[in-house]
């Protein structure tokens, strides 16, 4: 820029008449003053803009890196430390994190106190996951550097992930196979652990699927009886009720058989036990089937670590949570998030597009349409919790309550639709995101050139045919962009969901094998709410902390995946309509 200005005076000088020296001088001064004025050139503003952009990118990149790092490393197996403390006690645990702190000086030994005081009163401490909640009543312990006598990593320490009570850290003292006590043998134990898990899964399968089915059928019979009673009166319904009672009796007989089978397996399971001994010498003797996963944390090789890492990820995305959501997987939450978002798109897409079509193509442009347009834009700015309150009051209580009275009177006073559920949650979010779709669709429609519409009308097409065959295909990529924005917003929203259907632990998925297969009245789990619940609402937030990062990572990946899919679909459509068929 500067060099250009410097070149100008000679050029203008050459062009001007050589005789008019005074005029030439005036010109040259003006050019030079211009080039010297920094603010006029806009350079400082440019630095400011660039800096702001860079700062924004750094913040976002930093946030993503943090989530990615913490999320990706959580499942990596870490070694177990055995720490001898200065008071003679011994603990064992997995190092979590370290921090400096201000110890309570008067209570320290004079020697240590002098050392700490020399360090401005600060000391370093480390948080260990000592696990063994059933024995210690706590999962974690802080250990200050000055208390530590020695740290070692003994080879015989194992890390056990249990079905209940969380993690156990300690040695294997012995085992009991089919009632026979024997010494620990790694091969036998590994084999028995797999067999025990198979038994455990069999019990679960029977309880969940088969007994679940019977319960479902019995409940349906009970509701049928009530319905008959309500509709026909006591006398008329009597034969029907008797028949139903008979069917219930049959179902209950079936139930007894299954229950006996479960008890049999349970009894067998009791005779397979393992003796686990914690570092202090106390031991427990759980069933082997309680051990979900175990490994010798200090001797395990890299390949095995990798195997455990991936098996933990697989468990995370494919199973249900246990231990108040701090252990196990998040499959119901993934399912709930995806199902709710897709359902929301199903509601929001036609509603938003039709509204925008009317507003842009049919409504007379004037004061009323601009008021409507401003209101729609403002709706996008309403706090989402307000939508949650509206959704609960209008959808769940008013609409759902009416539906219950009309169609499900037999299950009252238990609500069917008259409470939060996935249907009401997705409708609430559809309401929340519809302004985004309307605005994007309107812009896409406005961007369709007038010449296209005129071309179509001149061919003798009606207004609707013009919109259907020329305007909408042309606007479709823009409409899809709006839909993608709405989806991203909806999938990440949590606050309104807490009022209209999200729960900490859903007993059943909204889709299952029982008629009518899709249960829109059911409450569901959501990854966003899961983050809030695990990290900040559980009894032991320290235990849930790593899960927060993993779940955040998963939620982000899920939203990215859903958006990527939508973008691919949009680009396909773009290509398809570029060559276009009816």
């Amino acid at each position: 820029m500067t060099s250009l200005n410097e070149q100008m005076p000679p050029a203008s000088g050459a062009a001007g008449a050589a005789g008019v020296a005074a005029k030439d001088a005036v010109k040259r001064r003006r050019v030079r003053r211009f080039s010297a004025d920094l603010s006029a050139a806009g350079e400082p503003a440019l630095w400011g803009f660039g800096g702001a952009l860079a700062l924004g990118i750094i913040l976002i990149a930093g946030f993503l890196m943090m989530v990615l790092y913490n999320g990706a490393t959580t499942f990596w197996p870490k070694p177990i430390d055995r720490i001898e403390l200065s008071d003679g006690s011994v603990i064992a645990g997995v190092e979590r994190r370290g921090t400096i702190f201000r110890p309570d000086l008067p209570r320290l030994d004079p020697e240590i106190r002098a050392e700490v005081e020399a360090n401005d009163g600060f000391a370093y401490r480390t948080l260990y996951q000592t696990a063994n909640f059933d024995l210690y009543g706590d999962d974690f312990q802080w250990v200050a550097d000055f208390e530590t006598e020695s740290v070692s990593q003994p080879d015989d320490f194992y890390y056990f992930e249990r079905q209940t009570w969380g993690v156990f850290v300690g040695r294997i003292a012995g085992m009991q196979i089919a009632g026979q006590s024997m010494d620990y043998d790694p091969t036998v134990f590994a084999r028995e652990q797999r067999a025990a898990r198979a038994r455990f899964n069999e019990i679960r399968q029977i309880e969940r699927n088969e007994i679940g089915r019977l319960n479902h059928l019995i409940e349906r019979e009970r509701l049928n009886q009530r319905r008959a009673l309500l509709r026909q009166g006591e006398e008329a319904a009597a034969p029907e009720i008797a028949a139903s009672q008979e069917r219930i009796a049959e179902l209950q007989a079936e139930f007894q058989v299954l229950q006996a089978r479960v008890n049999e397996i349970r009894a067998l399971d009791q005779s397979y036990r393992v003796t686990l001994e914690e570092v202090g010498g106390r031991s427990i003797e759980p069933e082997i089937s309680q051990i979900v996963r175990f490994f010798p944390a200090n001797t395990i090789g890299f390949t095995d670590k990798l195997g455990i890492y991936f098996s933990r990820w697989w468990e995370f995305v494919s199973t249900e949570p246990r231990e108040a959501n701090t252990q196990g997987g998040v499959l119901p939450a993934i399912f709930g998030t995806v199902a709710m978002t897709l359902l929301m798109v199903v509601f929001v897409a036609p509603f938003g597009v039709i509204t925008a079509l009317y507003l842009r193509e049919y409504a007379k442009q004037g004061r009323i349409t601009s008021i409507v347009r401003i209101s729609v834009n403002n709706l996008a700015g309403v706090p989402s919790i307000v939508y949650g309150v509206f959704g609960l009051g209008f959808f769940a209580y008013t609409m759902g309550g009416t539906i219950d009275q009309l169609f499900y009177p037999e299950s009252l006073p238990n609500p069917t639709f008259g409470k939060g559920g996935i249907l009401w949650a997705s409708l609430t979010l559809a309401l929340l995101t519809v302004p985004v779709v309307i605005v994007a669709t309107e812009e896409a429609l406005a961007a369709v050139p007038r010449s296209m519409r005129e071309g179509s009308l001149a061919c003798g097409a009606s207004k609707w045919q013009t919109i259907r065959y020329v305007v909408l295909p042309k606007a479709l990529p823009g409409i899809m962009t709006g839909m993608i924005l709405a989806m991203a917003r909806g999938a990440g929203e949590v606050a309104p969901l807490m009022l209209v259907g999200v729960v900490k632990l859903a007993p059943a998925l909204p889709i299952d094998g029982f008629y009518p297969f899709i249960h829109l009245d059911r409450s569901f789990m959501h990854l966003g709410f899961h983050i809030f619940d695990v990290g900040f609402q559980s009894r032991n937030s320290e235990a849930g902390k790593p899960m927060v990062f993993v779940t955040t990572l998963l939620l982000l990946s899920l939203i990215v995946a859903m958006n990527a899919t939508a973008i691919i679909v949009r680009n396909r459509l773009k290509r398809k309509y570029a060559t276009g068929q009816f």
């Binding site: 442009q365 050139p449 010449s451 296209m452 519409r453 005129e454 071309g455 179509s456 009308l457 001149a458 061919c459 003798g460 097409a461 009606s462 045919q465 065959y469 020329v470 295909p473 042309k474 309509y577 570029a578 060559t579 276009g580 068929q581 009816f582």
Partner: protein
């Protein structure tokens, strides 16, 4: 209520050799408060090319777009007077605008093919009319493309996107689309203004070939073009039809001095 009864577009063929097919009588038009056309009177002859010339903003496009009621899309439009097609007032009550437009093919200033295949572009007027029979559609595509002198160039890629054609080809495609429904009148709104001289020459040749089959009304900025291709010329100025007559008279021996000034290049 007198509805114009049009025959189905695909079948009507009878076109008598001469006589007016379109007549404009005492036509006035206002956009809101400002008047754009003043008292226009004109008769468009069957099978001939009528050119509308005049400086920018004189109302020639407005007049053209009244002939198939494209101006209906404009808010605050008001008209007075009559435009008749074979004696029927097209602004009369109960007129089926869609049927009217099917009788009046229109070609625009800039080529505006739809984002569809070449085949779908040409069959569009028929398909919106409810024609689905493949043989009729195929026949129409070939006839229209041949009439628009585009058949040889695109016959092997009818299913490809029309947007892949060059500007001149796109404009000929638009002409093919306009003649696909076999209209009586072709309205052309500066059909060559976005094209280079070679493409322009081809379109002019095409107009030469199409006249006789269709009555053509074209708006043009180029007096040379009007002189080359038209049989009759109307000169418009500030919303008024100054002079209307056969092209030779207008260009060589105009009655009004203003027409003379314009065609000799003294203003405009």
């Amino acid at each position: 209520m007198d509805t114009i009864e049009f025959e189905p577009t695909s079948y009507h063929v009878k076109k008598s050799a001469d006589g007016p097919c379109l007549s404009i009588e005492n036509f006035n038009l206002w956009y809101g408060e400002s008047q754009a056309l003043y008292d226009c009177n004109m008769e468009i002859q069957k099978g001939q090319v009528t050119a509308l010339i005049g400086p920018s903003g004189c109302g020639k496009s407005t007049l053209l777009r009244c002939l198939n009621r494209m101006n209906d899309l404009v808010d605050g439009l008001r008209i007075d007077g009559r435009i008749t097609v074979d004696g029927f007032d097209i602004y009369g009550k109960g007129v089926d605008v869609i049927a009217l437009r099917k009788r009046m093919g229109m070609v625009f200033q800039k080529p505006n093919p739809f984002a569809m295949s070449i085949y779908d572009n040409i069959t569009y007027p028929l398909r919106v009319d409810g024609v689905t029979k493949k043989s009729i559609l195929d026949e129409t595509v070939e006839r229209a493309l041949q009439q628009a002198a585009l058949w040889k160039e695109v016959k092997d890629r009818l299913q490809e996107s029309a947007l892949g054609l060059s500007g001149g080809q796109q404009q000929r495609l638009c002409i093919a689309r306009a003649v696909a429904s076999d209209p009586e009148v072709l309205l052309m709104d500066e059909p060559c203004s976005a094209l280079d001289p070679i493409a322009t020459a081809r379109i002019e040749e095409l107009i030469e070939e199409l006249k006789g089959t269709y009555s053509i009304v074209m708006v043009t900025h180029s007096m040379a073009q009007a002189a080359r291709v038209s049989d009759n010329t109307a000169f418009m100025y500030l919303g008024r039809l100054i002079e209307f007559g056969d092209t030779e008279t207008i260009f060589t021996n105009p009655k009004k001095s203003r027409t003379n000034d314009y065609v000799t290049g003294r203003f405009g």
